[in-house]
């Protein structure tokens, strides 16, 4: 164990008693603060005059009267010693006793608390989760000064031994849902858990396969706190700022922190805009392809003339053209994400000028097709958490629209709808509020009611109609 590991450090020392006793401080280099070890552990230990007693009594004396650290845990197994030392604790071992002390001296470098780039808000907190688990716990606790708030520790990953925190409000969370989560996390047989995505699939319901996710992710402590108050459960994973929130429903993808900071009328307007954008992002290229290929009569006359004129000048069939542009756009997007930031501008210029303007003027692609694909692409960023399903569905609709026309699009929509309606997230129907319809929860779906109405009653997630293992089965 740690045999040849360069970061495994053992500082041997002798405690000054009448009969000197050997001791050792075990640390992992880089995980502990050297200053803390020197000031809170080494100095008190080496300067203290111990009474002549047995090693066990000596350890108790050190724990109660010598060390100045605020966090001291006593344990007696090798497994715990490994766990504590790899978590940034200094482990104190004394010759002659099987008991050991873990002394809090974490000092590893970490990213400071900053605004999450994926969830930017106009008004509201600028704090986002960071990688260390304890800091994330603090960010939640600072907002929820409620004794009901519980952090429950779990460990997953055979090799990584990643620490998780199940975070919930005891009085709000459903015990059935909590048990399901514990069971599913315990069944996780991964070697290493390095990000939240590793666990998402384990938390999804069986027989509920879908391209939509029943597991929500957030990097914002205020969002997590809001969800906790609705009876949801957050899972904090050590080493990642992305916190899992379950159960997760479709309508939540259209809610953001800003909705609750803005005036209700504007928040409602934004909500409707988001739903429309989602529809445009998914359907527009497919419908355009289907109409251009099979039903040009559905275009308004003026638009039909312009579109057919534009399409007639390009060498490719419309389906292939839409597919090609969408595909190229996705490549550029992926490249933009992965390349170093300074090169990003170059990609933007290449994309806008070469692929866009030059391709149109060269007559390779039509301007109307480019406009349709660009509109759909912009709309897909309005609901960014839904980007993966939007992208896949967009491609499917383009292909189906190009082969079967409107009929195919309707058929594909029926499949998607059935799939979404059958999906559950930890027993809660994924489409809750809409299907099963709940009039009461409509106050925060398409519209955002004013705070006075929202504050009257909080709807707990397990109280949604047709939730499995729930006593609340109302409609």
């Amino acid at each position: 164990m740690f045999a040849d590991s360069a970061d495994f450090t053992v500082r041997e020392l002798t405690l000054s008693t009448e009969k000197p006793v050997k001791a050792a401080i075990i640390t992992i280099e880089g995980m502990c603060s050297k200053e803390v070890i020197a000031l809170s552990i080494l100095t008190p230990l080496l300067s203290y005059s111990f009474s002549d007693s047995s090693p066990d009594e000596l350890l108790s004396e050190i724990k109660t009267s010598v060390l100045t650290s605020s966090e001291i845990v006593e344990f007696n197994t090798l497994q715990e010693a490994v766990m504590f030392s790899t978590s940034g604790f200094a482990v104190l071992s004394i010759d002659g006793t099987g008991r050991m002390l873990a002394i809090g001296s974490q000092g590893f470098p970490f990213r400071s608390v900053s605004e999450p780039e994926s969830e930017v808000v106009q008004r509201g907190s600028r704090e986002g989760f960071t990688e260390p688990l304890r800091i994330n716990m603090t960010l939640i606790r600072r907002r929820m000064k409620n004794p009901d708030l519980v952090f429950e520790t779990l460990t997953v990953g055979k090799e990584s031994q990643t620490q998780l925190m199940l975070c919930y409000l005891q009085k709000s969370a459903s015990p059935e849902i909590l048990n399901k989560i514990r069971k599913r996390l315990n069944s996780c047989n991964l070697e290493a858990v390095l990000a939240s995505g590793y666990l998402s699939e384990y938390l999804e319901d069986k027989g509920s396969k879908s391209i939509f996710s029943g597991v929500g992710i957030s990097e914002r402590p205020d969002t997590v706190c809001g969800k906790l108050s609705e009876g949801r459960i957050a899972i904090l994973i050590d080493g990642t700022p992305a916190v899992i929130i379950v159960p997760h429903l479709f309508v939540e993808e259209f809610q953001s922190v800003d909705d609750y900071s803005n005036r209700p009328y504007y928040a409602t307007f934004i909500r409707i805009l988001k739903y429309l954008s989602f529809m445009i992002a998914v359907f527009l290229p497919g419908i355009y392809t289907g109409f251009a290929q099979f039903h040009p009569e559905y275009f308004p006359t003026g638009l039909l003339i312009k579109t057919s004129e534009s399409l007639s000048q390009t060498p490719l069939p419309v389906t292939l053209e839409v597919l090609l542009i969408t595909f190229v756009y996705e490549i550029m997007r992926e490249a933009g994400l992965r390349i170093p930031k300074p090169l990003g501008h170059a990609v933007s210029i290449v994309g806008a000028l070469v692929i866009g303007e030059s391709a149109v003027s060269a007559g390779i692609i039509s301007s109307s097709t480019l406009m349709v694909v660009a509109t759909a692409a912009i709309c897909s960023y309005v609901t960014s958490p839904l980007y993966p399903p939007i992208t896949v569905l967009r491609f499917i609709y383009i292909i189906v629209g190009g082969i079967f026309g409107l009929w195919g699009i309707v058929l594909a929509t029926a499949i998607v709808l059935i799939n979404m309606c059958a999906k559950t997230s930890l027993g809660v129907p994924y489409m809750s509020s809409l299907a099963p319809f709940s009039l009461r929860s409509m106050r925060d779906v398409f519209i955002r009611a004013d705070w006075k109405s929202l504050a009257k009653r909080t709807i707990r997630v397990q109280k949604f109609p047709e939730t499995e293992d729930s006593n609340a089965d109302e409609n």
């Binding site: 009929w407 309707v410 058929l411 309606c421 059958a422 559950t424 499995e468």
Partner: protein, 352 residues
């Protein structure tokens, strides 16, 4: 799939309402030209009243036992259930075929006459298999979205036809023969097939009230009435020689220079036929006691598809499968005769 969860009867009735609307959406209905609008309305009301009566036996079973007829029959006559199941499976296959053939006729006439209808039917049935596999609850949830789509579509179609309406004193005239009254009434009893679906699947529902069936029939009457009104007074004589008047109505709709509402009509008809066939497939699963069994659904879908191919090659098969008289007779037996016999024989013993 939430098979254990019961869902509200209101949603089930919404689903049945949508299925019933398929009658007017998919059928190439031909109301007598000689009878007046009011006369046709009366025949429609008569037909729908009869349809409502088809629900009565299964409503009584549901109210008294909170079971659907199929579960009731299974409990009361476990040894005879094989015959009952076989009859109902045959009925559901026949009904699915009835609506599939009517939809495919409409597809080839109004949407794409060059398409290979066998391939189209295959794709359609594949989606139905998926929906039936996901279960009644998923289909019922889906019906909420389809209902919203239908509502928007009909509002647009009717609004788009208001400017075409030329109603005169003939609105109030009441002319027609008894024969045409009976023929029209027979056509409007077609929605009674939903009574058989109700008899089979109502066990999955909760909070059932008798008035829900009444309201559903009432809304159906309103929808049919509106379509008949616009067909009679917005399309006028133009429609008499034409087929699929509902489709024509959507084609003639225009709002401020915007038209193309027939795309909504065609989309709606696909969604409705999907609902109907999927629901009938779940009924088959329930009848054979294997709800949610993929293999059962696939086997019966294959039978439906084979029948569809046969009807394409043999006109006599198609005639039998789309015959209204056979359909109504079959429906009457499945929704009224058999459940009534069970009620008479077994009902009193339990409740008196």
């Amino acid at each position: 799939m939430q098979t254990k969860i019961k869902f509200p009867a209101k949603r089930f009735m919404l689903l049945l309402f949508l299925c019933s609307s398929s009658v007017i959406l998919l059928q190439n209905y031909d109301l007598s030209e000689s009878s007046s609008f009011m006369y046709n309305i009366v025949s429609m009301l008569l037909g729908l009243a009869v349809s409502f009566l088809f629900f009565v036996p299964s409503i009584i079973i549901k109210r008294k036992t909170d079971l659907d007829f199929m579960s009731f029959a299974h409990i009361k006559t476990p040894s005879a259930i094989i015959f009952i199941s076989s009859f109902y499976c045959a009925y559901f296959v026949y009904t699915a075929e009835y609506f599939l053939l009517r939809y495919m006729d409409m597809f080839s006439q109004k949407l794409n006459s060059e398409a290979n209808i066998y391939a189209v039917a295959l794709f359609l049935l594949a989606v139905c298999i998926y929906a039936a596999y996901k279960g009644t609850n998923a289909i019922a949830r889906c019906s909420i979205f389809i209902f919203l789509f239908a509502l928007v579509s009909f509002i647009l179609i009717f609004t788009g036809n208001i400017s075409n309406v030329k109603a005169d004193s003939s609105v109030y005239s009441f002319e027609g023969s008894t024969d045409s009254l009976l023929n029209n009434a027979l056509f409007f009893t077609t929605p009674a097939f939903t009574a058989v679906i109700f008899a089979t699947l109502s066990g999955f529902t909760k909070n059932f009230r008798q008035r829900q069936v009444l309201f559903t029939t009432g809304f159906l009457a309103l929808l049919f009435g509106l379509i008949m009104f616009f067909v009679a007074f917005a399309l006028g004589k133009y429609s008499t020689a034409q087929s699929y008047q509902g489709f024509l109505l959507s084609k003639s709709a225009h709002i401020g220079g915007v038209n193309g509402f027939d795309s909504l009509y065609l989309s709606l008809s696909v969604l409705i036929v999907l609902l109907v066939i999927s629901l009938l497939l779940t009924c088959i699963g329930k009848s054979v006691g294997k709800s949610g069994s993929l293999s059962t659904v696939v086997v019966f879908t294959a039978i439906i598809y084979v029948l569809f191919i046969c009807s394409g090659y043999f006109n006599s098969v198609k005639k039998i499968l789309t015959d209204e008289y056979i359909f109504v007779f079959f429906t009457l037996t499945a929704s009224v005769v058999i459940p009534s016999v069970y009620l008479i024989v077994f009902g009193r013993k339990d409740y008196d």
